[in-house]
Amino acid sequence: MAVQALDAARLPVDWAKLVQKLALATALFVVAYGVVPAYASGYLVEAILLPFLALSLAAVGLNLLTGYCGQLSLGSSAFMAVGAFGAYNFNLRVEGLPLAVTMILAGISAAGFGVVFGLPSLRLRGFYLAVSTLAAQFFVQWALTKFGWFSNDNPSGVISAPHLAVAGLSLDSATGRYLLSVTTVMVLTALVWRLVNSATGRNFIAVRDNETAARVIGVPVLRTKLLAFAISSFIIGIAGVLWAFTYLRTVEPAGFNLDRSFQILFIILIGGLASIRGAFLGAAFIVVLPLFLSRLGAFLFGGLFDSGVLDMSQRIVLGALIIIFLIAEPSGLSALFDRLKRRIGSRSS
């Protein structure tokens, strides 16, 4: 379903659709820059929007690699860590580096790292590739705890995020961090959208759908895979910066463990592979699910429903949902969303 959207660009201009799209984009801007900063509570921003934005961006990045290019990765969390620690160190060690440059450099570090750990993809496929990307996960955790330099020799290894400011304007408030996050996510998502609708994006899909045919018609398969790793890791690295700087407010290796990699993979499985919208739907789902479960649990079982039970019930629900989605709706929430829209459309007409 999601891939169908790719081809919309080829259709003759449909004015009604164009107007609809413009209206949608305007609404998005009004909500993102008007309604949310003005009315959203601190809780909504800190506990829901900030993790939602960072995870969405990471999922967009992973979807590029796994959904579009077909390369399964369990290293997302490692690439996030490289981005976060990269940004921390660039900020610490280079005087007066603008925040945007810091973030781009962090993304580039993650991209370089992604290419190195993407090399096995030239030989390995599917499950075996996923296992080899675990190496990235373990290597990064090991290096970050082993070499104190990365955490500026802080004995606990937990360092607080630096001041955030753009052009002298402080972004340390919840609203400021939200604005930084939402702007970063929108800009990068727009770029990814352009990419997946370009010839490069179609190369990704060609490699995913039939590598042999892709090679024979002249798709540079090796280069395409490494490019997918590089761009995907760049985006996931910047998502790591957002995660640490705007949401956690600390930079620590434990924030980027294997659980996080699985979480991002689950987001794109639930949201829908090869769909940008799916990354956002999946992330929203994953962020809201524990809040929903804890409310529901407290309502049904009162005090019996403590955080341990919550954690376990969350795992069970998530596991069951993933199995259901893989069997019944492999195209994820994004496809469900499309179907719902069509049904509403046909009823109203």
Binding site: R194, A199, D209, I217, P220, L222
Partner: protein, 301 residues
């Protein structure tokens, strides 16, 4: 990225060098040198052999293909026809023998350079990109002509845009040529089998190859679809001047279509000539009567 492309280049270089170092065969080499220097020979195979485990899929096969001809290669299932195509396109590496494509001689054809050598192919089992539309599948057939980087694509710079426009125009021409207009914007995976086969032909033709390898383009089709496909194959040769190797296991389909026919049986070439010569050849008759599908030539992929 630089490291990546260097790595890829080194990999290709290495396979070319190993190709040069491959087993020498003076007699075959001289024959091949003579053939490949003739401008009217698009492809020349000499002494091709390949085996899989104990199975000799091909032994000592020679074949020349002249400019502008439709050259059929027929034979029962398992005769080695697909292996031959896979060797020409570099997906399999022959144990023995050499392949000359347009004057360049290889013992291992570099598959990643195949399109730039002027060779395009279709696959016996469909090999389309299921997640792309018909039009985008076809457009992928010209990917070897693209130079713009992903940054140029994202930024929509002039080179990327002009490449896109040029490829869109060629794609439209092929879509019209193969009557695919009505399905051009559909996801290719949603099309019926016969149409998917046609899209694969379109993806190969849009590359404007000198040599087109078709591996059973009509297998599994209805009689009407077969006739239609035969028409397209002939039109591709007549209008686009492309030289064609047509693999078929059904002797009937190729008789009216091809200029010359080579017959494979158990990996050996048992006959080669005009359709009439081949049909009268006692070895061919024996091979075909000896197999189950000799009577009606129907095959389920």
């Amino acid at each position: 990225m630089i490291g990546a492309s260097l790595g890829a280049a080194a990999y290709e270089r290495a396979s070319e060098i190993s190709a040069i170092l491959a087993v020498a065969n003076p007699v075959g080499d001289r024959r091949l040198a003579r053939l490949s220097s003739r401008p009217d020979v698009v492809l020349a195979l000499s002494g091709i052999g390949i085996s899989f485990g104990g199975v000799k899929a091909l032994s000592d096969v020679d074949l020349e293909v002249e400019v502008g001809e439709i050259r059929a290669v027929i034979g029962p299932n398992g005769a080695g026809k697909s292996s031959l195509i896979n060797i020409i396109s570099g997906l399999y590496h022959a144990d023995r023998g050499r392949i000359a494509i347009g004057g360049q001689s290889f013992s291992r054809v570099p598959a990643s350079r195949l399109a730039r050598l002027g060779v395009a192919r279709t696959f016996q089992n469909l090999a389309l990109f299921g997640g792309l539309s018909v039009r985008n599948n076809i457009a992928c057939g010209r990917v070897h002509t693209r130079r713009a980087s992903f940054v140029e694509h994202i930024a929509g710079l002039p080179r990327a845009r002009s490449e896109d426009a040029g490829i869109a125009e060629k794609t439209d021409q092929i879509v019209a040529f193969l009557h695919l207009e009505s399905v051009a914007d559909r996801l290719v995976a949603t099309l019926p089998y016969g149409l998917q086969k046609r899209v694969e032909l379109a993806r190969a033709l849009v590359a404007e190859p000198k040599l087109l390898l078709l591996d059973e383009p009509m297998a599994g089709m209805t009689a009407t679809e077969k006739a239609e496909m035969a028409g397209f194959v002939r039109a591709a040769r007549d209008r686009h001047g492309v030289t064609i190797i047509l693999i078929e296991h059904d002797i009937g389909v190729v008789m009216g279509l091809s200029d010359r026919v080579a017959v494979l049986d158990y990996g050996r070439k048992i006959a080669d000539g005009t359709p009439a010569e081949v049909r009268a050849d006692p070895a061919v008759i024996r091979a075909y009567i000896g197999t189950a599908e000799g009577e009606n030539g129907e095959d389920i992929r």
